[in-house]
Each structure stands twice: as C-alpha cells, then as structure tokens.
C-alpha cells in the first residue's frame, strides 16, 4: 500500500509529461504555415509541413494568375510527380492507377480520393520511360553535342 502511494504521483506525473509531449507534437504538425513561406519552398525543410498543407499549396497554384504561374514553375503538380517518382520492378514509373504511386499510397491509407489525376498526368514527362522517341533522341543528341563542345573547350 505504501509503495502504491509513492508510485501514484510518479505515474500521474509521467502521464502528464507524455500528454504534454504528444500535444506539442500534434501542435507542431498542424500549425499553420504562412502562405509566402510555402510558396518560397520552405516546405521542403520538413515533410510534415507539406503533408498538412499540400492541398492549400496546390489550391493556391490553381487560383494564381497565369503570368505569375510562369514564375512559379517549380510549384506545380508536374514537379511533384517528377521528384516523388515511384518505380516498379522493371524500373518503369508507376502511374496513379497503381497502389504504390506516391500520392495514391497515402490517400489510400486515409481513404481519400484524388481528383487531380483525372485531368493531370501522374507520370513525369521528363522520364526516359515516358518521353517520346523523338524527344529522347533530341535529348541524347543535345547531350552529345554538349559533351563534344566541352571537349573542344578543353582543347583550347
């Protein structure tokens, strides 16, 4: 009985501490991020910021005036699928139709549908598996030309 009297406040204190820590973590996860900070790309510092605010960021991009969006090319859904590419066994990128796709994976866990990919492409155009033969050849030729130019510059 004496032991229980000593342990009870300790357990209570531990509980309070745990609650406080949990609450603080929760507050950090859901804290609002200034819009300007998001647009400048500060979200890349912490993935939780993006996890909680990506809808707002995409919405902002959606409603932005077109001349401004020219200056914000890096904040587009095309850029999202380019960086967060998921590849299958044959190294080909997976589209949103596949459960392992970056967006689909999380949305499926949360049981939330994605409307974006009914209009937008879920595969990056810059990937060699996705790009057309002509583009691929043009890229290869350009790369070789650059290499050749570099060697010419080196000789001079």
């Amino acid at each position: 009985m004496q032991g229980l009297k000593i342990f009870a406040p300790a357990v209570f204190l531990l509980g309070v501490l745990l609650c406080l820590k949990g609450g603080a973590a929760l507050a950090a996860d859901t804290s609002p991020v200034p819009r300007q900070k998001l647009l400048r790309g500060h979200w890349s510092e912490n993935k939780d910021i993006m996890k909680n605010n990506h809808q707002a960021l995409l919405k902002d991009r959606m409603n932005a005036e077109y001349p401004l969006t020219v200056l914000q090319q890096n904040v587009s859904i095309e850029q999202c699928v380019t960086c967060h590419i998921v590849r299958g066994e044959d190294r080909a990128p997976l589209s949103a139709g596949d459960r392992r796709h970056f967006c689909r994976d999380c949305h499926a866990k949360q049981n939330v549908g994605i409307n974006c990919f009914s209009c937008h492409a879920s595969l990056p155009a810059s990937d060699p598996y996705v790009m057309g033969k002509e583009v691929k050849n043009a890229d290869m030729i350009k790369k070789r030309l650059e290499q050749w130019q570099a060697t010419q510059g080196g000789k001079k």
Binding site: V33, Q73, H120, A125
Partner: protein, 241 residues
C-alpha cells in the same frame, strides 16, 4: 477559415509598404522587369496559305501528338485544336486550304461571355481556359466566331504532362503556351518548318524587329472575319478578306 493567410502585423505592413514604394519608384527588380516584358509581348502567328495544300495535315498531327489528343473514331466529338478548312472565294473561285485554330483575339468573345472567368486572356495575348474554373457551360463555344473551342466529351486516359485535359470542360489551342514559356516555338510551327513548308511564322507582334512584325508591315495579311473587329493574333496571307 483559411489558416494559411498571414496575419498582417505592423512589421509585415511596413515591409509591404517599402516593397510597393520600391516598385513605384522604378526600382527595377527581376520580377517587375519580367512582368513588364510579358505585358509588352503579343504572341501571334502568320499563316501563308499559298504554301498550304489540301492533303497536308502536318500541323494537325503535330498538335495531336504534342497535347496527346486521342481519337476515339467519333469525328463529331473527337478533340481537334487545329482543323484544315477549305475556303472558296465565290466571286473569283480561288480555293484556299488553311489551318484554323484559336485566333487569340485581342477582343475575345469567349472571354466576354464566360460566367466564371475561366476563359481569360493572358498578359502576353494568349487566350486560354483555366480548367479549374470551367464549368462546361459551353457559352464560349457558341460565342466564338471561328468555332475554335471544343468540349471534352470522353474521359482522358493519358493526358500530356504539360497539357491537362478534363472531361466536361472546354478546351482550345493554347498556342503551346508551355513551349512559349520555355522559349520554344509552338509544335505546329516547328512541324511545318520541319516538313519543309515553312507556311507558319510565329513571333511577337509588338516587337518591330521580330520577323513576324516585319512581315505584317510589309505584306498584306488578313484576319478571318475582319468585320467582327476581334483583332486576332493569327493572321493569314493569300486569303481574300
């Protein structure tokens, strides 16, 4: 409540005021200069119909390839951003075959009638549709005197990354805005030149040094349906008005 809206503190207010003063005073920043350049630009196209033939559809195919326009074997509803039109002058019998796409008018009727402002004119003269705002009412399709807009009837299976297309919205030629933003020419112009025809000339109509502006000044180019005073950005050579 939008949690992302920053609260306007005294410091932020002063910062904003300082920035706006800098802009107003002519302190040319990168963004300010870029926006000024965009405002001075007007992208346009001159099509020399004398170099266009009935059987050639290089521009139409290039457009379909660039924007992943899929054909479902239903010509009445299949997407087509450029179409070849046969034009006959009744008095002389002169026949022209010309590609007709969105004319990117300065006074665009589609922009006037759009109830949600989805149809809009960009600062550099391109008339585009914001698909996030489009409700698919098709007023713009009815208002366009060139029949340049189309409706997406079918579910889009594989959209191009730079050209999102959604079922139930209206679409039209963007003059390959994604290419223009990257400093390239539209796909149709590039394909026409590659095929050895060179019937299409693209450039900035407001830049007097640009070849397109020189051609418009030196030769007689025509706007389609000039009586409507829409001031299109696409002009034709060799067509009787």
């Amino acid at each position: 409540m939008n949690t992302l809206l920053p609260s306007l503190s005294r410091r932020n207010f002063l910062r904003g005021a300082a920035c706006s003063l800098l802009f107003a005073h002519g302190g040319v920043s990168g963004i300010g200069q870029a926006l000024a350049n965009i405002a001075q630009t007007r992208w346009g196209l001159v099509v020399d119909t004398r170099l266009c033939s009935a059987e050639c559809a290089v521009c139409v195919n290039a457009c379909a390839r660039e924007h992943a326009l899929q054909s479902y074997g239903r010509p009445s509803t299949d997407a087509q951003w450029i179409r070849k039109v046969r034009l006959t002058d009744k008095s002389t019998g002169l026949i022209n075959h010309l590609p007709v796409m969105c004319q990117h008018c300065a006074d665009a009727q589609c922009v006037r009638v759009c109830p949600t402002r989805a149809s809009h004119r960009r600062a550099d003269g391109l008339v585009l549709v914001n698909h996030h705002l489009c409700i698919g009412c098709r007023y713009c399709m009815m208002a366009c005197p060139y029949k340049a807009r189309g409706f997406v009837h079918e579910k889009v299976e594989k959209p191009a990354a730079h050209s999102p297309r959604g079922m139930g919205t209206v679409e039209g030629c963007t003059l390959c805005s994604h290419r223009i933003d990257a400093g390239r020419k539209p796909a149709c112009v590039e394909a026409c030149a590659k095929a050895g025809r060179g019937a299409m000339l693209f450039g900035n109509l407001n830049d007097p040094v640009d070849p397109i502006a020189k051609r418009v000044v030196a030769f007689d180019t025509t706007a389609l349906r000039p009586e409507l005073l829409t001031d299109p950005g696409v002009r034709y050579q060799g067509v009787n008005p």
